[in-house]
Symmetry: C2
Subunit: 361 residues, 2 copies
Amino acid sequence: MQTVRLELGNARTYSIHIGRGLLEDAALYAPWVGAGQVAVVSNRIVAPLYLERVEHALARAGARVVSVLVEDGEQAKSWRTLDRVIEALLAARCGRDTLLVALGGGVVGDLAGFAAAVYQRGIAFLQLPTTLLAQVDSSVGGKTAINHALGKNMIGAFHQPCAVVADVSTLDTLPERELGAGLAEVIKHGLILDRSFVEWLEANIDRLRARAPEALEYAVRRCCELKAQVVAADEREAGPRAILNFGHTFGHAIELGLGYGEWLHGEAVAAGMVMAAELSSRAAGLPRAEVTRVRALVERAGLPVRGPAIEGARLLQLMQGDKKAAAGTLRFVLLEAVGRASLHSGVALQLVAESIAAAAA
Amino acid sequence: MQTVRLELGNARTYSIHIGRGLLEDAALYAPWVGAGQVAVVSNRIVAPLYLERVEHALARAGARVVSVLVEDGEQAKSWRTLDRVIEALLAARCGRDTLLVALGGGVVGDLAGFAAAVYQRGIAFLQLPTTLLAQVDSSVGGKTAINHALGKNMIGAFHQPCAVVADVSTLDTLPERELGAGLAEVIKHGLILDRSFVEWLEANIDRLRARAPEALEYAVRRCCELKAQVVAADEREAGPRAILNFGHTFGHAIELGLGYGEWLHGEAVAAGMVMAAELSSRAAGLPRAEVTRVRALVERAGLPVRGPAIEGARLLQLMQGDKKAAAGTLRFVLLEAVGRASLHSGVALQLVAESIAAAAA
C-alpha cells in the first residue's frame, strides 16, 4: 500500500491509500467509524461486487452499517436521488456523528459526498473509489455536486473526505469503456502538470489498457500526487486549481449537448482535450507537433478524438452557459507546452470555433 | 447605525449593521457587489414593501440585479423552492462571482443562504433580515437549511454571510404575531447567556411589544452581540454553540407534530422554552421560582406558554427523531440559572415526559 497526503494545513489534511485488497482492510476504516453509525452509498452495479466485503470490514471495525443503493449512471446526480439518500439516512436515525461511505465511481462519490456535505449541515465521509476515473481524479479534492437540467455540477459543495481508499484490484472488473474514461483523466494530469509522466504514459499506455497491476497502481499514485499538490495550493478553486478543468469546458458542453450519460464523462473530456489542444496552438503557442502528440495519446488510449455530431455553433452556445464562464466571458485552460497549463480569459470566440472544427477534421 | 463584529479569526469575519433606514444605504452594499451581478431572493409579502428600494440602492452601488420571489412561509424551505431559486440564477447566467442577497425573514434567509452555499459550490451572500426573529437570530451565524418531511433543517450548510444589514425600521410593518415570534428568540438569548438582559427585558417587554424604536434597536444589538460571541467560539456547533438551541428540541417537535407553519417557529420555541425550564428544574437544579419567571416573561411577550394539543408521548417520539439526538439519545440545553445554560445528555425520558405535562398544566 502506498499513501499520498493531501495537505490542507489543518485538521482536514487527509490520506489517500492506494493498493490491492484494501476494501477488506478493517484497519483503514477503524479511525473513522467514530460513534459507530455508518451509511454506505453505492449503486446497483458496484454493490453486488464489493458491498458485502466492505460491510464486513466496517463491522469488524466496530460499525453498525446501513446501505443505500442508487441507480447507475450520471442521472443519479439529481435532486431526486439525493433526496432518496437523505431520506434513507433519516429513516435509519443517522445523527451528525454518522460516517457516510461512498462506494463506487465518480457519480456515487459526487452524489454521496454532496449528501454528506448537506446532511444535517455536514457529516464525515470516506471515499472508496472503484473506477479508474474516481481513483485518479474525482475522489480526491473535495468537489461534490449534482447536476441541473441547465448545467452539470451546478449544485454542490467543497466537502473534503476524511480519507480516500483506492483499491486498484477493483479495476480488474471495470468495463473496458470505463477504464478508457479513467485514462482520459490520467492523460489530463500529465498534460497539464508533468511532461515526464506523459512520456511514461506514451511508453505504458498499452500496459495500462491491458490492466497491468503495477502500471495501474503507479498511474493512480502519480495522479493523486499531482492532484493533491494542486488542491493543497487552492482548495476552493479561487485560481490555479482551475487547471484541472483542462478539456472540461468543451467536455461539459459535449455531455450537455448529448444529454448526460450518452458519452461517459471521461470520453467527453478526451474529445474536449483534443479541442483544447487545438485551441492551445491558436491562443497559447502550443507547437503543432504537440497537438498531434496529444491527439495520438488520446487515440491510443481508445478514446474519442473527435466530438459527437453536434454543430460547432451549438457547442459554443452550450459552453457559454457553463459555470466556468466568468460574468459571461469564456475562460479556458490551455497548454503552453505538454506538462504546462494556465488559465486564459478573453479568448476570441472565432478561435474556439476554429478549434472545434479542427478537432472534428 | 451600530455595528457588531462576528469574529471568525480569518477572512470570513463579518459585520452586523443595526439601525434605521439601512436598506437604502448603497454604501453598505458597495463592498460586496464585486463583479456586479447580484441576485435578490425575497418573498411575495416582503418584496412589495422593500424590494424596489433595495434594488435601487444596489444599482447605485453598481449592481446588475435579478430578483427571485418565493412563496411565504416555512413550506418555502423545500427542495422544490430551492430548485426554483437555482434555476432562476442559472437562467440569469449568474457566475461564481454573483452576490446573493436574502431579503426577508428567517425562511428567506435559510433558503437563500443554502442556495448560496450550494450554487456552483458556493457564492457570497448578504443577509437583509426584515423580521425581528431574523434580525436577532437566524441571519447571524451562518446556519442555512431546508426542511425534510422527516425533520426540520435536516438538509443544510454552514455558510457565513459576508455581512448582515438589520434595518430595524422594517419592524414597523411586521405583523403582531411575527413580532412575538421574534421576542421568543430575544428572550432565549437572555435566558441562556445574560441575566441582566433578562432583567432589562422584564422592565421593557411592553415597550418592545409597542415597538419603541430605541428598545427594539437595543434588543437587536444585544442579541447579535451575544450570538456573535457564541458563534465565534464554536462556528460549526461542535459543542458550546448548541446552547442556542434552548427550547428548540421541544419546539421542533411541536412544529413537526403540527406540520410546519401552523405555529410560527418562535411560537413553538416559546412553548418549548417553558418545557425546557420545567425540565431544567427537574434535571439541572433550576429553582422553581425561576421557572415561574421564565413562564411569566414568555406570557407577557404574548407568546404561548403551553404546547399545542399533541399527546406528550407523541412529542417525545418526535423529539427522538430530531437531529440533535446523538446516536439515539436525547440531548437538552438546560438552565442552571436564568442567564446560564449548558448541555445535558442522558436525561431520563420520564423527566422529559413530566416536564411536557407540567408545562401543559
